[in-house]
Symmetry: C2
Subunit: 335 residues, 2 copies
C-alpha cells in the first residue's frame, strides 16, 4: 500500500462532541466513534477521551489497515498553533483550554505522527480533496453556523500566515457601524450572520417590543427574549413573520457583502459554504450572495466564481485528516 | 556580474505620467526619464512613448551596465493579465486601452524579456525588496490616493489568484449600506477612503447646504460643489472645519476597519501604506487603524503587526522592476 494513500486516524474535537475515525485514503470511514466532549472535566480528561476514541477507531479496523495507518490528523477549534500542536485560547472550549498540548499526548499514546489544524482549515482541506472544491487551485471555504469561520486556499496552498492562524473570515468588517462582535470588534460578519447573532437580533427586537410574532413564538418556546434560536427565527421567516424576515435578510446581505470582498481580494474559483445555517437555508442563503457578486464584483473573477454548498456533512472534520497528513510542514518559503 | 543582480529597465505607466528608468540591482536609479502620458492619442502612441523613454533610459547608462540589462519590468494600472502581458480594461486609462498588448511590443522594440504587473503589485514588491516590508514573509501593501489599491504577500509569495488579479483591497466592503463605489458596489473601502470619495462626500455635504466652511472654501477655489479636492478637505479639517473633520474621520475609520479585516484574515507582519493621502496625513491617517487593530483584532496577529508608512516615494513603481524580474512565472502549484 502506498504510504501516501494509506488509512489515517482522524480526530474531530468539537465543543460538544468528540469524534474519532479510521479513514481510508479515499475518504471512506472504516470505523467511527463519538462521545460528548467532557469539557467540564478539563483538558486532561478531554485528551484521555480523545485517545480512547482513537484507540477504539484503530482497533475496529482489519489488521492490514491497522498496520498501514500513517498518522493522526486532528481538527480542533481555533485559535491554535499547528506547528506546535497546541491550542492557543479557544473560546468555544473555555479558559481551561488555554495553551493545551494536544498533538504531544495523542502522538505519545498512539505512537504515530500527529498533525493538528483548525477545524475550518481541516474542513477546507476535506472539501478540496473529496468535496465541492475538487480541482480548484484557489477557493474559499466558509462555515456559517453558531459562529462564522473559514479557510483560504490560494495558488494551491492553504493560506496560514506566519503561524497558521490566517483565514478567520468571520471577522471581516462588513458594517463599520454595526453590532458588537464577541471578539470586541464591531460589524464583523460573525456579528450579523452567525447563529448567535441572529438569535441576539431576535432577542433585541423582542426586548424593544417591536416583534409580536417572534414574541409569541418565544412564549411558546418557554418564554423570555433569549428563548429563540437562529433556527426558530428562520422558521418564523418561512411562516411569514416580517421581523424574522428582516433579521434573516440582514444576515444574508452581510454574508453577500463578505463574498464580494472575498471575490475581489482573492479571486477564487469557488466559495464553498458549509455549516448548519447555510445548509438549512440552501439556495435561499446562497442566492443573495450570487446576485451581489454577479452585480458588483470584478468581471473576470465574478464570471468564474461558483458559490456553492459544501458537499460533505458532519464528518467533514474526519475526512479532512487524509489531506491534512499530506500537507508539507508549513515553513515560509523564500522568494 | 550576477545575472540576478544586474540592472533592469523599468517602466511605470500611469494615467497622467509615464516614467522609465534603468535601475541597478540594489534599487538605485542609474537613469530616469518621464513624460506626460499621451492617453488621448490612444494605445499605440502610449506604447511608442514608453519605448522611447525606455530607450533613453537604456542609452543614458554606461556601456557596461547597458550590456548587463536583464529585462524590462512594467508597472501599469489594473486590471491586467501578467501572464499574457496585456492590459484588460483599466478604468484609469480609458476604454481605448481594453485588451492592449503591452509586453509584446516593448519586448520586440527593446529585444529583452518583459514582465508586466499591476502597479500596486509592483509597489508591494518594491517595498518588500527595498522598503518598509523588508524581511517579511507576510504583509499587505495598500495605497490610498485617488483610488485605493493594494497587494498581498503571503507565505513568501505575491498572492495573485488564478490570473494575477487578486489583491484589489479597495473593494473590501466595509459598510454594506454605504455610498456607491465606481465599480457598481456599495460601501467599498474605495467609496469612503479614496481621494475621489472624500471629494465627493464634500460635494454632497455642500449640495445639501450643511457645510458652510467647505462652501466658502469652494467659492474661493473657483466655485461649485465639485471645486474641492481631498487635499482641500484635509486642509479644511486642519483649519478646524467640523464638516471636513467628519468626512476625514469617516475615511480614516473605514480604512481602520479594513485593516482589522486584513489582520484577522491574513495575519500579516506588516501593513505598509502608501499613496498621496496616506503620505500627506502621516500618523493622523495610520493611528486610528493602529488603535482599532490593537483593540479588536485577534491577539497573536495584533501583537505582531506593524502598520507603517511606505518607505519609497513616487519612484516605487520603478524600483519594483528589480524584484519583478526575479519572480518565478506564476503557475499554480500542485499540493
Amino acid at each position: 500500500m502506498d504510504e501516501r494513500s494509506g488509512p489515517v486516524l482522524a480526530l474531530d474535537l468539537g465543543a460538544t462532541r468528540v469524534r474519532a475515525a479510521c479513514v481510508a485514503g479515499d475518504g471512506r470511514l472504516l470505523s467511527r466513534f463519538e462521545a460528548a466532549t467532557p469539557r467540564e472535566l478539563g483538558p486532561a480528561a478531554v485528551v484521555d477521551a480523545a485517545v480512547g476514541l482513537l484507540e477504539s477507531a484503530r482497533d475496529a479496523v482489519a489488521a492490514r489497515d491497522r498496520r498501514a495507518i500513517r498518522g493522526v490528523g486532528i481538527a480542533a477549534p481555533g485559535p491554535l498553533d499547528p506547528a506546535a500542536g497546541r491550542l492557543i485560547e479557544p473560546p468555544n472550549l473555555g479558559p481551561a483550554f488555554r495553551d493545551v498540548d494536544l498533538a504531544g499526548p495523542v502522538g505519545t499514546a498512539l505512537g504515530l505522527p500527529v498533525r493538528l489544524e483548525r477545524d475550518t482549515h481541516v474542513a477546507a482541506l476535506a472539501e478540496w480533496e473529496f468535496g465541492a472544491a475538487r480541482g480548484c487551485t484557489d477557493f474559499v471555504y466558509m462555515t456559517v453556523s453558531t459562529g462564522v469561520g473559514g479557510g483560504i486556499v490560494s495558488g494551491g496552498r492553504l493560506l496560514g500566515g506566519p503561524d497558521g492562524l490566517a483565514g478567520e473570515l468571520g471577522h471581516l468588517v462588513v458594517d463599520l457601524d454595526g453590532p458588537p462582535c464577541g471578539c470586541g470588534g464591531r460589524g464583523h460578519l460573525e456579528a450579523i450572520s452567525s447563529g448567535v447573532a441572529i438569535a441576539r437580533a431576535a432577542a433585541e427586537a423582542m426586548a424593544a417590543g417591536g416583534a409580536p410574532g417572534l414574541g409569541a413564538r418565544a412564549t411558546r418556546a418557554g418564554g423570555g427574549t433569549a428563548a429563540l434560536t437562529a433556527r426558530d427565527v428562520a422558521e418564523a421567516e418561512e411562516a411569514g413573520d416580517v421581523d424574522a424576515a428582516r433579521i434573516m435578510e440582514r444576515a444574508r446581505d452581510a454574508f453577500a457583502a463578505a463574498c464580494v470582498s472575498l471575490v475581489d481580494i482573492l479571486t477564487p474559483q469557488a466559495i464553498v459554504v458549509g455549516g448548519g445555517i447555510a445548509r438549512n437555508q440552501g439556495d435561499r442563503w446562497l442566492d443573495p450572495a450570487r446576485r451581489l457578486v454577479a452585480q458588483t464584483a470584478f468581471r473576470v473573477p465574478r464570471e468564474r466564481v461558483r458559490i456553492v454548498a459544501a458537499a460533505l456533512g458532519d464528518d467533514v472534520g474526519l475526512a479532512g485528516a487524509v489531506p491534512l497528513l499530506r500537507l508539507a510542514t508549513r515553513t515560509p518559503e523564500g522568494r
